[in-house]
C-alpha cells in the first residue's frame, strides 16, 4: 500500500482512518517520509513492513519513540531507501519499466538494505544503481479537487502522487472538493491524475487533517505537540488511546473533525491563506 502526500503534507488521513477502522492486517506501507499515520498503523498492528526514506514527525519532536519501539523490538521491519531512489521506484512503475538507472545510493550501505543491484552502462561501462519498479497493490491519495470522472487536480507541490497513482493497481482518492467536468476543462493543465488512473473517489473536506493541505489548511503543530507529549509520558499506549478517541469512536469523518472543532479548523485555514498569500 502506497500512501500519497509526504510527511505531514496532504496525507490521505480519512482513508488511513478507514483502513484502521476495518482492522486490516499484514500490510506493507510504502511512503517516502512517514509521519503519524505510520505510527497509527504500527500501533494498530496493521503493518509488518514499512518501505520509507525517513520516519518521525519533525525536528522539534525528536526521533519517533513509536518507530524505535516497533523496529528495535523486531515487530515491524523498516526497509530504508533514499528519498530519490524510492521516488524513482514509483517513477519506474509509473513508466511501466522494470527499473531505472541512477547515481544515488551508490557506495552507501543503503544499497544492500533493499537488495539494489548495480549495472554497467552498456555504452560507457560506468556503474549505476538499478532501482526496481515498485507497483503498489493499492494507492491512497488526497487531492484538492476532482470531477466525477476522477480527473484530479493538486495545488502547490505535487509530491509523488502522480507517479504513485500511475504505478498502483488500485487507486483510491479523497478530495477536498468535487467540481464539474466544465471546471476540469477550464484548467486542464492543473490535472495531475487522469480519471482512467483512478478507481474510486470520495468527497472528504479536511481529508488530510491534522496534516496540511497546501493553501487550504496548515498542519496542526499544537496537536502534534500534544500527541507526542502523551507518547513521551505513556509510550505506545498513548497512541492506542489516541486511536480509540480519533479513529474507532467517531462513526463518521464529520464526527472526527468535530473533535478538533470548527474554530481550530478555521484557524488552520487562515494560517494557510497567509502562507500562500491568498
Amino acid at each position: 500500500m502506497a500512501v500519497g502526500g509526504c510527511l505531514f503534507s496532504r496525507t490521505p488521513m480519512a482513508l488511513v482512518r478507514e483502513l484502521l477502522r476495518q482492522r486490516r492486517r499484514g500490510l506493507t506501507l510504502a511512503r517516502n517520509l512517514t509521519c503519524t499515520e505510520g505510527e497509527f498503523l504500527m500501533v494498530a498492528g496493521a503493518v509488518e513492513r514499512i518501505v520509507t526514506a525517513w520516519m518521525s514527525i519533525g525536528l522539534p519532536w525528536g526521533v519517533s519513540k513509536i518507530l524505535r519501539h516497533f523496529v528495535e523490538s523486531g515487530r515491524v521491519a523498516l526497509e530504508e531507501w533514499s528519498h530519490l531512489a524510492l521516488g524513482l521506484r514509483f517513477r519506474a512503475a509509473a513508466m511501466g519499466v522494470p527499473f531505472l538507472p541512477t547515481l544515488t545510493m551508490l557506495g552507501s550501505d543503503l544499497i544492500a538494505v533493499g537488495g539494489t543491484k548495480t549495472l554497467q552502462d552498456p555504452y560507457t561501462g560506468a556503474t549505476l544503481a538499478a532501482v526496481p519498479a515498485l507497483f503498489p497493490d493499492v494507492a491512497l491519495l488526497h487531492v484538492h479537487r476532482a470531477d466525477r470522472f476522477g480527473n484530479c487536480q493538486i495545488d502547490g507541490y505535487p509530491h509523488m502522487d502522480a507517479d504513485i497513482a500511475q504505478a498502483a493497481t488500485t487507486v483510491l482518492v479523497t478530495t477536498e472538493e468535487i467540481v464539474s467536468e466544465e471546471e476540469t476543462r477550464r484548467h486542464p493543465e492543473r490535472t495531475v491524475l487522469p480519471g482512467f488512473a483512478v478507481d474510486a473517489l470520495v468527497l472528504a473536506p479536511f481529508g488530510a487533517f491534522p496534516h496540511e493541505c497546501y493553501g487550504l489548511y496548515e498542519a496542526d503543530f499544537d496537536h502534534f505537540a500534544e500527541y507526542t507529549r502523551a507518547i513521551d509520558a505513556r509510550g505506545p499506549t498513548a497512541v492506542a488511546d489516541y486511536l480509540e478517541r480519533y479513529v474507532y469512536a467517531p462513526p463518521t469523518w464529520g464526527d472526527y473533525l468535530d473533535l478538533f472543532g470548527g474554530e481550530r479548523l478555521a484557524l488552520q485555514q487562515r494560517r494557510a491563506r497567509e502562507l500562500v498569500g491568498a
Binding site: D109, P158, Y214, E218
Partner: protein, 252 residues
Amino acid sequence: MTAAELLAVVAARELRDDTTVFAGVGVPLLAAALARARHAPRLTLVIEGGIIGPEIAPGRLPISTNEMRAGRRATMLPGITDAFLFAQRGFVDVGFMGGAQIDRYGNINTSVLGTDYWNPKVRLPGTGGANDIASLCREVIIVTPHERRRFVERVDFVTSPAWLRGDGSRRAAGLLFGGVSRVVTTLGILGFDPDSRRMRIEAVHPGVSVATVRAHTGFELVEAAHVAVTAPPSEEELEALRALDPERRFLG
C-alpha cells in the same frame, strides 16, 4: 550567543552568492536563509519537498521540507523526484545538511546504531534526502554540533556517502562528482586532506583550542599547516539571524 547561533552564522559564511544550495531543515536552512538575507541575495534554495527558490519568512521557519512554510514564494514546485533529479544532472552547487554520526572520511549515519541493520540497537529516522544530497550535489557542507559521540572513527552504517574509505573509493563506487568539502561545527571548521581524504582541522572558533577540538573528536584529526581562527559573529549577523527565528525554534 548560543551554540546554534554561532553554528548558523559561521555556516552562512560558507555559502556564496549566485549559487544553488540544497538545504536540509533546521540550522542548515536557517543559515542559508541568513546568507540570502546578507551576502548572498541571489542564492537559490532547493528543498527536498520539491521546492525551488523559496523565500523563507522571518518567524515562519519550516519544520519539515514538505510544508507551506518551506514553499513560501517559491519560483517552482517540480515535485520531489524531479527536485533531486536537478541535483543528479549537476545543477546543485552545494548540499547543506546536518548529520547524526560522522566519521573521519565524512560519511554520515542517520539510519541505525549497532552493527546489524535489521536488529538495530537504536533506530534513527533514516536518510530522508540526505543520501541523495550527499551523492548528487557538486559539493557538500555538513553543519553539526561538535560532540565526541557524533565524531566516530567509523560510522555503524553509511547512510550518506562522503569519501567512503578515503581517496578513490567514492569515484570507484560510481559517484561522478561531489563529496564533503567542509564540516562546520560548534568548535571550528574541518576540511579533508586532499590525498588521504581524512578529516583535518582548518579553523577554530575564537577561544577554542585545537586540543579542545581533538578532545571532542573520537578519531585522530589531521591538522592543517595553518589553523585559522574564525571571526566572531558580528552584531549585525546575530541580529539578522535572530530576526529569522524569533520563536527560537532552532536557535536554542
